[in-house]
Symmetry: C2
Subunit: 246 residues, 2 copies
Amino acid sequence: MPERPKPIVANATLGNKNAVQLVGSYPTMPLTVDCVIFGFDENSLKVLLIKSDLSQFNGKLSLLGDQVHANEDLDTAANRVLYERTGMKKVYLEQAHTFSKLNRHPGGRVVTTVYASLLNINDHSLGITDNELKWHPVSEVKEMAFDHKEILDFCYNWLKKRIQEHPLALNLLPEKFSLRQLQNVYEAILDMKMDRRNFRKKFASMGFLIDTNEMEVHVTHRPGKLYKFDFEQYQLRKKNWVGIDF
Amino acid sequence: MPERPKPIVANATLGNKNAVQLVGSYPTMPLTVDCVIFGFDENSLKVLLIKSDLSQFNGKLSLLGDQVHANEDLDTAANRVLYERTGMKKVYLEQAHTFSKLNRHPGGRVVTTVYASLLNINDHSLGITDNELKWHPVSEVKEMAFDHKEILDFCYNWLKKRIQEHPLALNLLPEKFSLRQLQNVYEAILDMKMDRRNFRKKFASMGFLIDTNEMEVHVTHRPGKLYKFDFEQYQLRKKNWVGIDF
DNA sequence: GCAAAAGTGTTGTCCTTACACCCATGC
DNA sequence: GCATGGGTGTAAGGACAACACTTTTGC
């Protein structure tokens, strides 16, 4: 049995009191959002990065991040930052984790909530390229500013797991895609080869592929069929039972 | 192509500048942590809650939360809050999500990072019971203070998924447990009945159960074997491939 | 006609499910 | 001896892994 710790100050002194007073007694700190934006092009997984303009980091690569304004929630902030940095709107964004190490920012204590985002590089041309914004192959990113390498690694692991359970990878492709493109996405992200027949059978049996009756054009080999993903059906039928297994 | 948004102020004005100055220009806000502490007892899933002492909430139930200090990271804060509220230390804690709706706290803007925690009720007696701290069956919790009901629902869903992929539920049981107890945990959390033989086969085949050669005592039926979970083996052999399925 | 990738089926193995009977203990 | 849950095996069905040949297009 542990010894009884000191009571929490706010409770002891305020009792059944005013919420504004209570919140006023809390320390405040700056909050940022960082976006880890994955894209897919030329059969490899890319991530959208800028060069840090902090002198400490000497042009090291950095995620797309910025302060959270006093009057916006985190989802809004992440969307805004993405828009301000890239000119893109309405991108799928998902909160991944909040990082809070005390010394993670050289300018003082900054807590950051990280959002991961996936998009199709060819459908979203960059409207802005300040700070040398560009796509970098994930496998080639080594050093980064802040704790951003750690964050990138975290999000890459998150992505690997996530695409196996959600049709997230479809966001990396154009609306109409071939099964080869889809398999390339999976192979690139998971960093493994898969059997083509089994891969196609798996997706066919899920029943979310819509045959567009169109084919690839101008390819130097037999053209493949183009499909759309039936997100509507997916929403209706998605699993909630995964099965005990670890 | 979207119109080019206004440049981000911090970049435009500071250029390649001082990090301290940059962070100093960010708005600050109070940050809290909330702990969703699940426990298991009498074959039902419980959650540890207090009564809010804010007058607005009129004694409604609340998660265990408190401010994050200026000089502590979120993991530390969550552990501290748990200790201060319950007297318990060294509890498994995992960050689940950060909630940031602007009006979620009546005292002003407060962002909260939520940690989920699982523990065995009978192994952890409560050292402190201020604010009517006690265990509530999850299924019976209706109204709560703040957005805590929404947070609880989020964490309950998180838990359902999580226990299917990680040996998390073992934290809800004593070190030595019977397979019946284990199955009860799963049935209570997932809210479904399972076949006893298949459940046992499943766990036996995973190879993480260590037979203690002890039996239940003083039970009004044939006593069951007691097992330990081999966390060490689990760490060595845990899966990282789940298989595409959604 | 050659290179390159599309398209397609079968078989064996493993995992999951469904299901019924006897056993050890407390009272 | 009876109530309660412990312990066990098998058969059928479904999912997954492994594997090779023919087809269509561009050049």
